[in-house]
Symmetry: C2
Subunit: 437 residues, 2 copies
């Protein structure tokens, strides 16, 4: 009877990163880190498990109720696998509120978990670049964050017209709901949740959901439409909007104009972010391609998160960019480069007695930062070359009896389909020169 | 009444990585990756949650029973946060057994979780470099793995006498127990678990534990001592050891001699690895410092792990190196470099109207890969300089009315305590030249 074998499948909604997938992930991370570091942001990380209380406070109900990976540990503690990073960064900043020089500019690329039905761009485990600045009340923080958020896409080669950044301010929504539509706080909360989901439901569903929450106002849907479609010029005509909020928008956009970012940034009051902790400007970046017309990432300002831990307040502004969404964007716009192993040098083993000579040469190349795959078992030449080809290696370094006797090496360039015999130094130099840095 | 605040403490047994901690973690990872890649190993990663069944099969009982973070997900699946990486890599290799060119050389630096009482070098979350080679039956795989494992410590600047690699082979223990001591399989298993713990318990505890498992053999403790203290010269005198096993050790050490590794590698039959899946050579690297005399890391050969998933067999050899242990070793030997932010250029804001000019200069530096922290709010000069000092920045770029009018910048070098006014190009060049790469 055959013994039962374990499945090789990974857990639902997750990914195995084979070397070719990992090369892409490393490429995404390295470009993101390069841009974020160029703005003086420093990397941090927190533990993957946090106390469940951390999320109960401010993460949206839908996430904590249905989507969080929570359990009780063997010591009776209620813990959760982090579904987002903002609560962790707020906790860490709060723990050193006195010592940290301000502004605090931090970033991280944590893996996050949500229990969801896996689908296009939605997985149970994903990685997310989190960028945050704390301690700047002025909208100069927004200017920096927007500029940085756009520079990340530019660094991947995204054309200027491939995306748009859309901005709103929480107070617009609040004022319109409270003073314009005269909604009670719970109604306002429910309508904002409906707006956040609007693009994922039909117009009929949307209308009936709004009418359910605001039953005694027949104009509600029309007024909301008017609000959602307003622009800076007619924003003052929207019922409930204060002069102060209008000035905030006006002044931000005037500075965006000076910084040369106005052409890719829009005012858009329909931007509503899911998290309850946002209190100021909120924004989302959208792909403009008709093939991938969706929100790529976003963020905003949160003034009260530090206050969960401390009696002091500290304003934060930040965003999160997921790896799956980013990769979809890059694929849609044909921006994923061809990443290969071609820089690796392969040294076949032509005879077992050559092993030591091969190792000496391998060491020399490795010392110069060139990766070497040394064959460990002697096999037919054809088999070894076919292995090198499958691996995508460009360079093959042949050491036969002749080479060893004369202290030379034969270098085969699989790309140019050429081969020549050199001294070790010349071979090293040749590989080094031709290596893509 | 004061409102109750959330704790800023992280979950027990974990670490918050503040920027200064993260710089060390990044340094550790980058040196490890550099060495491992220089041997042609490719990076992979798997999901952080796996099916609990994956560990039930071969991970030691102690871990699966008491130390694993397992729970039932919202869909009723039994899952575990990975306590080790070997089952994941075996699963992934097994899933592409036909396609992957052999040998398969892979590495990863996953975070792993164990529910333990936190203590020196023991945390609930840690990171571990995992290096594995599959598909080489010859001990050439061991030669490569040992050489690589030592090169990692050398790359951190470890002196040749700061550690020793100790090797044994599972068959020695098996033969000695079965044919020398005539133990039954369960007894052999129990005694090997006792030996694995030997360094952590007293001699009296050890003796009484052995006598409990082997009650009817008064010589057991003496014979085990003789076995544990044997060397290559007298290995053949140990009861039960076969000629074949002796030859394996003899031949490996003769090749280690040729490769110039014999001086740091010992044969040591007292090496017993905790995981049940090892089947061939096993090894551990020990710190030689009297202050930190403990096992740093280790690994071995496992022939049957792929067989859990497939009817084909594929031999693997590998090791795992934890970040906490590595850092302890480096600290003991004074090998942790001083990692700072000094390469960052700080641009204070002397007047709000200069913001745009400052941003233009900042962009130019960032384009050349130099990180720039641009002040977002104008403050007194003293306050801005004190911020730059706290952050550890070396360079300050001053833009006043004069500089802006003349298209110049004043560069202050906090290290040399000097300042000079240059054109942007010269300032860029100067910072670039003096920057530690």
């Amino acid at each position: 009877m055959k013994e039962k074998k374990l499945t090789t499948e990974n857990y639902k909604g997750t990914r195995d990163f084979f070397p070719e997938d990992m090369r892409i992930r490393n490429y995404l991370f390295s470009i993101m880190k390069q841009v974020v570091r160029s703005y003086g942001y420093e990397e941090y990380d927190g533990p993957m498990l946090e106390s469940l209380d951390l999320y109960r406070a401010k993460t949206g109900e839908e996430i904590v109720g249905k989507q969080i990976y929570d359990f009780v540990d063997k010591g009776g503690r209620e813990v959760a696998i982090r579904p987002e990073m903002t609560p962790t960064v707020a906790r860490m900043v709060a723990s050193r509120l006195r010592e940290l020089p301000r502004p605090i500019r931090w970033f991280s690329i944590p893996n996050l978990w949500r229990y969801e039905q896996p689908g296009h761009g939605r997985l149970r485990e994903h990685w997310q670049l989190n960028v945050d600045i704390f301690g700047v009340n002025h909208h100069a923080a927004e200017l920096e964050i927007f500029s940085l958020a756009c520079d990340i896409l530019f660094a991947f080669g995204a054309p200027r017209n491939s995306f748009r950044l859309k901005v709103s301010h929480r107070s617009l929504l609040d004022e319109f709901f409270q003073n314009g539509l005269k909604l009670k706080p719970e109604q306002a909360h429910d309508v904002s949740k409906i707006l956040d989901k609007k693009s994922k439901i039909t117009q009929d569903e949307y209308v009936s959901m709004v009418q359910k929450v605001v039953p005694n106002n027949n104009d509600a849907v029309t007024l909301i439409d008017q609000f959602l479609n307003s622009n800076i010029a007619n924003l003052k005509e929207i019922p409930g909007i204060s002069e102060d909020s209008y000035q905030k928008i006006q002044s931000l956009f005037s500075d965006l104009e000076s910084l040369g970012l106005r052409d890719i940034i829009d005012f858009d009051p329909s931007v509503v972010r899911g998290f309850d902790y946002y209190t100021g400007f909120i924004f989302e970046i959208f792909d403009t391609s008709p093939k991938n017309k969706r929100s790529l990432y976003g963020g905003g300002r949160y003034d009260n998160l530090i206050g969960l831990f401390s009696h002091e307040e500290l304003s934060g502004t930040g965003f999160g960019l997921g790896d799956v969404t980013l990769l979809n964007f890059l694929q849609t716009h044909n921006l994923v480069p061809n990443l290969s192993n071609e820089n690796t040098v392969f040294i076949p083993l032509l005879d077992e007695t050559f092993f030591l000579s091969c190792q000496t040469i391998a060491k020399e190349f490795r010392k110069h930062g060139i990766p070497v795959d040394q064959a460990l078992v002697s096999q037919k030449m054809g088999k070894q070359l076919s292995y090198a080809e499958k691996k995508g290696y460009r360079w093959i370094l042949l050491l036969g009896e002749d080479e060893i006797a004369k202290n030379l090496v034969t270098l085969k360039d699989m790309q140019e389909r050429s081969q020549e015999t050199f001294s070790l130094e010349v071979a090293l130099q040749k590989v080094n020169e031709q290596t893509k840095k």
